[in-house]
């Protein structure tokens, strides 16, 4: 069973022990962020803050999908589902999108503020990390925009900060889908770009918004495919963009083509605050609407946040599909949460330098957000980090096994190891570690044999050991 809205998902999380309600008074100013951050780093349950200072009647749900357990539940799977099975489930459902259905209205229309009535401070916008540039209302959000050339509607997850009562500033990356349409279409026309910022939709709509999904494809249909039922959408307040009708909060506005305001710095999904500030976009907010007792969703970003799970999950499947399209004999791809969407592990049935260099070329040809790619043979389980580390340490030649691609204009502006100048120009590099045996090594005479139970003993002996294991009193 998947969930038609956030609140039924929360009920399921509580039932599985993956949600704790925090009823004590908590300050939106840093305290809420500090508690959420610590819980995230401990892989703990999601926290639902029901008593937020200055905001009676509102609540905050922190890091809804920041563990594999919660992501499995969102997909309608058992909480203890294996990570590989979660990947396979996503991969299967991603291939079966369901177009959204439009309905007249959603619950968020219960409270509407337009024009001069708009006051963003009416809504909880936590000060997430000490040293951030401001209060972020858009962290676990779903931002709807449109390419007027084709009519294509984009869902993405982009950060937005309070500037004043009617203004948000944000930093959708220039190379993001929203940033691309803004730069290529709206700015040349000197037209404002309508956006609708959705907070607190059902979990799979947010997952779809975070997904690595090709420009021009419909994330709303992806969300429907993941859920197995179409997403119901309706008009956002004061604009004609369609948003999930189950949203808790919707903020409508326009990215202005001729105005800017201070944004950032912000502690990001990389686990660091890297110093990008004052180079984003400004949104003139035209309307806000919210359900009664709105539940805000917060991605308290940093090490092991929501992106570490959902962007990694969807990114891994996207990488796999892309490599398959380029003829790479790929078996599995995993972006470990600890890698903060900077590291990919790719297993192939046939490796070697030619394959590894092709993987590197394919994954850096457009947006190059990954900086480390570890390529392993198919006998290595990419989801088992002990196996991956063993392969990396023993099979990667420290000279011949390392390949580097450098680029400019398409790198990751949030990679902490880059200099400020590199981040500003989207310059950087990606390294591929070839942890595969050279294809010209004869498997009978040259490829080293793994000294492991499953590899170095005959099947008969292995079976004999397994059968007498318990009799020997072994755990």
């Amino acid at each position: 069973m998947t969930f038609p809205e956030l609140r039924s998902f929360m009920a399921a999380l509580q039932g599985s022990g993956d949600l704790i309600a925090v009823d004590g008074s908590v300050d939106w100013d840093l305290e809420l962020g500090a508690i959420s951050r610590r819980m995230g780093e401990r892989d703990g349950p999601t926290l639902w803050f029901t008593n937020v200072r200055d905001y009676p009647g509102q609540s905050v749900l922190a890091n809804p999908l920041a563990t594999w357990r919660r992501t499995a539940i969102a997909l309608g799977l058992a909480p203890e589902t294996a990570v590989q099975t979660i990947h396979q489930t996503y991969e299967q459902r991603e291939a079966m999108p369901l177009a959204p259905v439009e309905i007249p209205q959603g619950g968020f229309q219960a409270n509407l503020r337009q024009g001069d009535q708009v006051d963003l401070t009416e809504l909880i916008a936590p000060m997430v990390h000490e040293g951030d540039g401001g209060r972020y209302i858009g962290t676990w959000d779903l931002v709807v925009s449109r390419d007027p050339r084709s009519g294509w509607t984009n869902w993405g997850a982009y950060r937005f900060m309070l500037h004043d009562e009617r203004t948000l500033t944000g930093w959708p990356r220039p190379t993001s889908h929203l940033g691309t349409v803004l730069r290529e279409v709206y700015l040349p026309r000197h037209e404002p770009m309508p956006v609708a910022i959705v907070i607190g939709a059902d979990p799979l709509s947010h997952l779809a918004a975070c997904a690595t999904y090709a420009i021009g494809r419909d994330e709303a249909a992806l969300a429907g495919g993941l859920a197995g039922v179409p997403v119901a959408v309706c008009r956002a307040p004061a604009c004609d963009l369609l948003v999930p009708a189950n949203a808790e909060i919707v903020i409508s506005g326009n990215v202005l083509p001729d105005a800017i305001g201070m944004e950032g710095p912000y502690g990001e999904y990389s686990g660091f605050r890297t110093g990008e500030m004052g180079c984003g976009v400004l949104v003139d907010v035209t309307a806000i609407a919210y359900r009664n007792d709105p539940v805000h969703t917060l991605d308290c970003t940093g090490f092991k946040d929501d992106a570490a799970i959902v962007t990694a999950l969807t990114g891994a499947v996207a990488v796999k599909r892309r490599l398959e399209r380029h003829g790479i004999p790929v078996r599995d791809v995993y972006l470990p949460p600890e890698g903060a969407v900077h590291t990919a592990i790719v297993s192939v049935s046939d490796g070697g330098p030619t394959v590894v260099k092709t993987i590197l070329d394919v994954l850096t040809a457009r947006r190059a957000l990954l900086s480390k790619i570890i390529v392993v043979d198919g006998d290595v389980d990419v989801f088992a980090m002990d196996e991956v580390m063993h392969a990396f340490s023993t099979r990667c030649h420290p000279g011949r096994g390392i390949h580097v691609a450098s680029y400019s204009g398409r790198g990751n502006g949030l990679t902490p190891s880059y200099s400020p100048e590199e981040r500003a120009t989207l310059s950087g590099a990606t390294v591929a570690f070839d942890c595969t045996w050279p294809p010209d090594w004869d498997s009978a005479t040259r490829v080293p044999v793994r000294a492991a139970f499953a590899d170095t003993y005959g099947e008969e002996l292995q079976q004999q050991v397994l059968e007498c294991w318990s009799a020997l009193g072994l755990p």
Binding site: S8, M10, A11, Q14, G15, A21, V22, D23, G24, S25, V26, D27, D29, L30, E31, I35, T50, R53, D54, P56, G57, S59, T121, E122, M127, H129, E130, G131, D132, G133, G134, R135, L162, H163, D164, E165, P174, R183, L187, V255, L256, P257, D258, A259, I260, G261, M262, P265, G267, R273, G275, E276, M277, G278, C279, G280, V281, L282, N292, D293
Partner: protein, 128 residues
């Protein structure tokens, strides 16, 4: 929105309960906060274009104001100045104490195209 949070959608009520210690209450006059690109260039000066965030407690805390201001680094507070917390681009605090006096309030929205520098836009404003 003055009512308690609706929790009827949860099957059972479990919570941590208790009141948490709030450690974030301002002990003194709140003042302002600003972020700078190069702290070494922030010698005491007038006619500096800055973005100030109001640190007064309440729902409007951290809202922004673009200003031309006079800043001072001194152990004692000059007359007419407010406390200023200065931070670097990565959010670390610049040792002070700093003080600020607003000379001119600039438009809330600065002229410029998306993805261009706010600091360049601020610097473009004429000074007295």
């Amino acid at each position: 929105m003055s009512r308690a949070v609706d929790r009827t959608f949860l099957p059972e009520h479990t919570s941590t309960g208790g009141e948490l210690m709030n450690t974030n209450q301002p002990a003194t006059e709140a003042g302002y906060e600003t972020f700078v690109r190069n702290p070494s260039e922030m010698h005491p000066a007038s006619d500096l274009a800055l973005v100030l965030r109001d640190l007064a407690p309440g729902r409007r805390k951290y809202l922004a104001q673009n200003v031309i201001a006079h800043i001072v680094c001194a152990d004692t507070r000059p007359s007419g100045f407010a406390p200023l917390r200065m931070r670097t681009a990565v959010g670390n605090e610049v040792p002070g104490p700093w003080w600020v006096r607003v000379q001119t309030v600039l438009p809330a929205r600065l002229p410029g195209a998306p993805y261009t520098s706010v600091f360049d836009a601020l610097d473009a404003f004429p000074r007295d």
